[in-house]
Subunit: 309 residues, 4 copies
């Protein structure tokens, strides 16, 4: 059994030991505001940053909406422009995130260590595409490609994790169920493969004369099987033959039975946390059993559990 990775609290502590400036002063205060969330200022900084990130995501999303694009005709060519406030907003946010990145570099003890850490790279990648768009001249053609790179800014949203205090319990429950989840995923994939190929044959090969079969290939049939077993059921791929529908109904019931299992596993795992693990080891003096697993003294008579009577 592999050991659980470090919890977030331990990681924050570790980083503080390595990166927090020793001498009290502006840099140390900046570090406390930017990297920690224990002071009111630090908390305010984190929330402000979160608002900026969400705003930036909303801006990028709005850019793709046809309603917010201004159509211009230049030299017979149709150019889709963005309204000024979106362009300005974009630039303000890019500058803000650049300043934040520089501030982070300035206040840590080892800037290179931060720059090469996971979050350092994420912070850099969410700033760069904005400048790349400027350097390449921002022509209509290159714009589409650059926009896709710029969207990496989305990763910044992962910083959300930094402010959560309940995430570890969730992570623990999932981590403890990992073996069961792997078995479950394997069973799902096997069921998807078998039912996908089966339906492909029934719908496309055996009744090959059917011109409008949705099961055009085995990968398509597997896509159908996943969409069906998870009860998503888009309806873009559906069986058209009677036998296909019968088998499909049977597979749905089977798949449904299969997919409810992990819910039970995670539920059971989470319920476990509620009941403190109790162990039998009876008290050597009063023989009371079922103490806490980390108990050193009997809950009933107070005698040392490890000392023989």
């Amino acid at each position: 059994m592999k050991s659980r990775p470090l919890t977030r609290d331990t990681k924050t502590l570790q980083r503080r030991l390595v990166q927090r400036p020793h001498e009290a002063g502006t840099r140390q205060r900046m570090y406390d505001i930017i990297f920690e969330a224990e002071t009111p200022e630090g908390r305010a900084f984190d929330i402000g940053l979160l608002v900026a990130i969400v705003t930036s995501i909303v801006f990028v999303s709005l850019e793709t909406l046809p309603d917010y694009q201004v159509t211009r005709v230049v030299d017979g060519q149709t150019i889709h422009d963005l309204p000024l406030w979106l362009v300005v907003g974009e630039w303000l946010l890019t500058i803000l995130f650049t300043l934040e990145y520089i501030a982070r570099l300035l206040c840590v003890r080892h800037p290179l260590k931060y720059a090469t850490s996971f979050w350092g790279i994420v912070d850099l990648l969410s700033v760069l595409p904005g400048y790349a768009a400027l350097l390449t001249g921002d022509s209509a053609r290159s714009f589409v490609i650059l926009r896709s790179v710029r969207l990496l800014r989305v990763f910044r949203v992962l910083k959300l994790w930094r402010m959560m205090s309940q995430a570890d319990e969730l992570a623990d429950a999932i981590w403890n169920s990992r073996d069961k989840i792997i078995v479950f995923l394997s069973v799902v994939l096997v069921a998807v493969t078998i039912s996908g190929t089966l339906m492909y044959h029934i719908e496309s090969v055996m009744f090959g004369s059917l011109p409008d079969s949705d099961f055009t290939s085995i990968p398509q049939a597997m896509y159908w099987a996943i969409v069906t077993m998870t009860t998503v059921g888009y309806g873009d791929v559906v069986p058209h033959t009677t036998i296909g529908k019968i088998i499909s109904a049977a597979l749905i019931l089977l798949g449904y039975s299969l997919i409810i299992v992990p819910t039970g596993f995670v539920s059971a795992e989470l319920s476990k946390g509620n009941s403190e693990p109790m162990e039998f080891h009876p008290c050597p003096r009063c023989e009371a059993a079922r103490h806490r697993s980390d108990a050193e003294y009997c809950y009933r008579c107070g005698s040392d559990l490890d000392r023989p009577a």
Copy 2:
């Protein structure tokens, strides 16, 4: 940790102290019938009111059905009229709700306090639109707009809550899981954002030549991601490229794993009562908490839990 808001019972008690008339008589009896549900008359009033509210909702719903509209041609214009029994029924209900509102105002000690309370405003807003329709002359044109205002009557249905006795237990379970639910919702929103932008790029930008892509913008792609991850799966937005389908299938499985987690949390919260009851009462000497509920000695230091340090 914030304290749980007042339960409904406490609120009812509080209101009774402030609003119930002191002197026994008609007003006090009216108060007991209208605001309380402990006497048979009070209960009958509440149930009768509930029936009236549901009837009113059914009426407003029927009005929108084409089957119940009488088409008339006046001066070459087509006018959609409602059958008489619907119009009369509407008016009877509006008068009934007006009388109820006045009765509420009359029997409380502080009418203004009631009128400005949440339920006072809801009660008023569910009556006003009916009269507004009369004053504006009820022409065919303004009718559509007024009908939408009149639908606020729907909020009256919230009074349903007033007669439930099991709602608090449900509210407690949800309230106790609130931190986990917030974390979960954040994770869902991040996953929706990332998978939405990813699918937008795969379906619309990378394979931009595809003319019938359903992923026309990032908000549309996020809508798809929510519809997919919650296993609703309308099928109005579906991936058309092979790589889009593969990523979509992966996202479905990921999303499915994500979405089963809160079920487990609420289950675990509700099961909590079943398992070994642990109590907080900290040890007076070593301050270790969470002992067995029948513990007399601290499990860690062995000192008597009832003797002050």
Copy 3:
């Protein structure tokens, strides 16, 4: 709190006391075979009956499939006939069920009491339509109407319940959660009403110029809300406006949170049954606590729990 209705076992016992013939003989043996399932013959009879019922349902289903209908042209009119084996099979099953009904009437002590009981009426109604089809001449026109009556035979399938031995535990879990389920259903219906009327206004009234809105009326919008909140998601009614999609996504997440709650309730109720209720009452001699709630002697020292030390 209302008392739980009689369990199936108690009902069987009650019926045996009233209906089972006193004198040993053919009638008593018939009763044991037809109404009871404790002898091998009785069990065989029940299983045989079940097979006949399922066969009858399969026959009625096949009749509606176009593949099994023989098209004939008589006097210029197209008549859809059924193949001979289906007609003969239908008649054999009808005769079989008639004989079974007569046998039931013959072997009970009070035939009228049986004939007017719930199952007596169901047994009769599943036989009558077959004869009604014969008496009316079975013309092509009346056939369609009679077939719909004949389908009442489907109720016979409810006899399935008679052979289950695990159904009571399931019924208990649901019965114990009934208050919570009622609250939950009310909340769902209120949410459906509010979100349905809201979406009707957004999609059809506010953006009324949109010609292809799927939200043609409030009942239609409520149908959409139920289909969406239960994550069925047919896709026949979907929002088309951007604001409609945003509100729809919010409602899906809300609805999803709402709908996972009853799962937790039933889970918790079922888990309760597993852990044998343990009670504290400590042993007067050895002070061991947490005995079975029906314990009379201490599990550790064997002394009487009710006798003071």
Copy 4:
């Protein structure tokens, strides 16, 4: 109550006793590598085999994708050929699996016993179709039929089960809930039958004038009922009449309530391990069962549990 089938570990042990060669040497070593997974070599063999199986499935799937088919025109006929690397890859894998099958036959003590066992047959069937394609000349016409047989190779994927160590716990939970699952499936099937025939009559018979009804037959309506109750909701069959939609909504809510039950059962079964472990060992005197696992005296009659009566 039927006894649980042998667990995988017991089966492996049993097979080892019967099939593992007695004398140490090449055959014994081969057996340990091929059939066991306890040595590093055995584990490596199993993982290598797994990779080969997955590769083979990916190859068969790619063959059905139009993108990977080379179109040739010979004598005016269009022939869809596969690219060379796919054909060669197919052949290499077929030869590999043949060698593996021969190796399995060689290293067991009773080859015939292995060849007629379940896995022996699966191993053979996953190799044969590849050769069958060669013998019949592999013409374009027969190719489609043979390919469908060749897909039986998919069953080899079931070998996945051989390497899982958590599967037994899952299997136990499902096995223990089997009675409840059977009752549940019966209830689902009855509900499907009743709601299917009901909707068929409402949508097709009562409103028979409706030309575009999706409920063309009772089996079709049952398919709809299963797709709806499991919340898959393809949307290829939907109600079109108002009364059909109302009944449909009611059935969805009923079906939803029904389908959450088994989730609860499996959850409860999995949680069982958490609660106070109860053991069967009946009292030698009064035969009361289910004592605390640490009980020494009967809770009912107080006699010593370890002393024979």
